[in-house]
Symmetry: C2
Subunit: 519 residues, 2 copies
């Protein structure tokens, strides 16, 4: 992914009071938007902090209703939202329609999660007044929200991972007010969705300040937001450089705070020998389909393919080359992303150990960029760490391996990843069983006989992974488990009933552990 600065570097010199939305397909300005000031950041954080106690005290039904209302308000924006997102991102309307469904579905999922109440992790340990040598107190535990959360959206999901996207939904569900730094690549979309959240908050009686919003192309706003002492956690999806910069800011605060940054992944795909022999050509076609979808602008795009030389290998490469050769170039999200893609693919093409085996049709020099396919061998890959760096877009590198040991060696050499995929047939199971423990240590999600693009929003999903796929591999940014990122435990010892939070009182509804046993 690409930093926000790169995406908007042509828009403003940072001192302007306005910045332009850019039409992705033409590179021309659409409309001007006001730039937030540092005072706006401080005011949003102060309001979020002031709202925190009232918001976290809302009951499950009220909070769930708020989440659902955000979805309703987004749907009520109708086609105008899709048209705006389409102009700003260049993403097709059909894709954006699906993404809107995912966004609304995600809000609904978190509403269900809030109602079900497992996230509170209530634990009750009974008092043992007669225990010797010492009695045991009455102990009750629950999770409480961390505090106001700063959310930085992603350019590649202007709806599902931006203003009212996964991080915002999870933080609201946890009971945290949210201050969004709107993504400057889609300010019109951002403004409309921010309005939807405000309308939902007003309609459902949420406290003022539960949602704050600032925007602008300069990094200064984001810096001030992360450094504000009232912010308790950060959610971010974007470039490795951008994510690491936020981590450093958060760690340098007098009171450090957690940053959940989803940053960088090349998502290795392993083609096992029997699968390759049985369906090499079909794999090649399907691979290019996954690689080029949405101009390859997915965090889980298959940027690396490992295959053992042998039967089916040439058929795989030939069919991938054929599929890519006539491929129509697709628009990219921003000029900055397009330029970074051009630079990254040019560096691969210039690498003497790498062969460019296919390219799509020429781009238009404005928005559309041609897809690229490269090959190298395992020893060259192992010798050059640059070959393992993400090129965001429809570019992939096929690594020719001599045997399974070389596949393992390459996999072991990789940094942390969001996903790894194994294409296999029945005869590959024994060998693939050796890869699973190795991949568990490298990635957040292992797939068989699929392609990594397409992330289900559900309970068992993990969209996360060891560093640098994310800054905190102990979590996921997609799926219901994402709520855990914004919680921490508190224990109540011997509190009289009137002082106990309702969640942990005797007879409170909801799941709990009583003396360690689910009840």
């Amino acid at each position: 992914m690409i930093s926000q600065t790169e995406q908007v570097r042509a828009m403003t010199d940072g001192t302007n009071t306005q910045f332009d939305a850019i039409e992705a397909l033409t590179g021309k300005p659409i409309a001007a938007y006001s730039v937030s000031t540092l005072d706006d950041v401080a005011a949003a954080c102060a309001a979020a902090d002031a709202a925190f106690d009232a918001y976290r005290a809302t009951d499950a039904e009220a909070r769930a209703t708020f989440l659902e209302a955000i979805g309703e308000e987004i749907v009520a924006l109708g086609d105008a939202l899709l048209q705006t997102a389409h102009r700003e991102s260049g993403l097709p309307l059909a894709r954006l329609t699906g993404e809107r469904g995912r966004t609304v579905g995600q809000l609904k999922l978190f509403a269900d999660v809030v109602r079900a109440g497992l996230w509170r992790q209530v634990r009750l340990d009974s008092a043992l007044p007669d225990r010797a040598p010492l009695p045991r107190s009455d102990l009750r535990m629950r999770m409480i929200p961390l505090g106001p959360v700063a959310v930085f959206g992603a350019s590649n999901f202007p709806l599902a991972f931006s203003t009212a996207g996964g991080d915002t939904a999870a933080a609201f569900a946890a009971g945290c007010p949210v201050v969004v730094k709107g993504h400057p690549a889609h300010p019109g979309t951002d403004a409309m969705v921010a309005g939807a959240i405000r309308a939902a908050a007003a309609r459902t009686g949420m406290p003022d300040g539960v949602f704050g919003h600032v925007r602008g192309p300069s990094n200064d706003l984001g810096t001030a937001l992360v450094q504000d002492p009232r912010i308790a956690a950060v959610g971010f999806t974007g470039s490795r450089r951008g994510g690491l910069a936020l981590v450093q800011l958060a760690q340098g605060r007098p009171v450090p705070i957690p940053v959940y940054a989803e940053m960088s992944s090349i998502n290795p795909v392993v083609l096992m020998p029997a699968a390759l022999a049985a369906r090499g050509a079909a794999l090649g076609t399907a691979f290019v389909g996954s690689l080029t979808m949405g101009s390859g602008q997915f965090c889980t795009n298959p940027g690396l393919v490992l295959a053992i030389e042998g039967e089916g290998f040439d058929a795989f490469v030939d069919s991938a080359v054929a599929a890519m050769t006539g491929h129509d170039p697709q628009p990219m999200l921003t000029g900055g992303i397009r330029e970074a893609f051009a630079t990254g693919t040019a560096a691969l093409a210039a690498n003497p150990a790498v062969t460019q085996v296919a390219a799509g049709l020429e781009g238009d020099g404005i928005a559309r960029e041609m897809a690229r396919l490269f090959t190298t061998d395992a020893s060259a890959f192992l010798a050059d760490a640059a070959l393992g760096e993400e090129v965001f877009g429809a570019s992939s590198l096929v690594i020719r391996c001599r045997d399974l040991d070389e596949v393992k060696q390459v996999l072991r050499s990789l940094e942390g990843q969001l996903t790894a995929t194994i294409q296999l047939d029945a005869d590959d199971h024994a060998a693939a069983a050796e890869l699973v423990p190795l991949l568990e240590r490298k990635v957040g999600r292992i797939l068989v006989n699929g392609w990594p693009t397409g992330v289900e929003v559900s309970h068992a999903m993990v969209h996360g992974g060891p560093f640098p796929a994310t800054s905190d591999g102990r979590s996921t940014s997609v799926g219901s488990l994402a709520i855990d990122r914004f919680l921490r435990p508190v224990c109540y010892q011997d509190l009289p009933a009137s002082l106990l939070p309702a969640d942990v009182r005797d007879g409170a509804a909801g799941p709990k552990l009583v003396d360690g046993t689910p009840a």
Copy 2:
């Protein structure tokens, strides 16, 4: 708490190949112990890494049996272990007997946790092959261990929070090999317990390298341990300076890793007006009992008391003064801790805004140190951040507040704490209800009508809290929830049964969420 360096600064210049165990009560050497080398650190980390896949593949019963066997081997060390710990720490035998029970109980608790299997957090989302527009894959999630964990024990719990203490037990339970940096203040105790762990590992057939152990007085060993690329997480209990140094090392690695450091807390106690009026004198006596127990060398020692001037206030102070005045000085753990206590209390005594109202009997200049009690008022406390710093040992500061608003102001000014305590009677409930939400944002555990010393090892316990009480307020270092610190989620998408880990196969025993519902 005090850094390891300070504790042992008289022992060695860092280039020695041996260092001495020091008898706490006399300051004299007991026995010499070999110093580990940097090669020893690397070898232990390599062995831990090599053992990781085999150890994490052990089933619940095998891993639980290993944990229980450690406890059995510790008990089998008999009185010799208690005698050694007593000589090295100066802690009374009765206390150490209790602490041994806690240590063994803690290992047993984690054995039960491993068997119960909730920690795996298994989630299964059913495939929906006929869903439109896109089918849903079969998704299965479980928690896996992070990898080898480095554990730095605490000097003040030579058994329960050292070599086979809470961090070690939780990491082993999670499936992580452990490399312990033995605490140099109790090397004999450390060596015996390390031997017990090795014996248990051998007896229960655990892989070589599941437990590694290095020791020595220099910080270089700890630095190398945290920087070793094979270490995946760090558990630490000790000083703020020491903890922050480890956090910085861990964040500066090419691949940053989580550090769970339990560091610094002054554990405010609020005396509400009705309680003070009804039983001020009794509270004063009980307070000094909690403050001076074990020479005040507890992470949860009540270092700060907030009380509203009024009926009972003078009775509280008078009885606390009376209780402390004749108090026998107790031995401290190390010369370094004793010196830091003397420095910290001298600084308080010299502060013009602070009055020393009581002191225990004189110390012996070697190990025993007199307890101290100070008073100040809220405005002075709010004006001088130094008054909120921890003085590790039997020293506390009583803050005279004008009203409940001033109590709140002081509480809001505090850094993150492990605990907060409210002493209240029925007439205080309404006012105390205003304090609970405020305290939730500051601490990991809220107590009513007790004293913070004494931490139950159970399911609902939280021994944690916002920075700087710990470096990661999202967790606890005591109780069964502590296992979560060493886990991360992995999702398996469409894996054939033969490739799935046993935990997530169809029909696997154990608790799980199926499509979001407990099953």
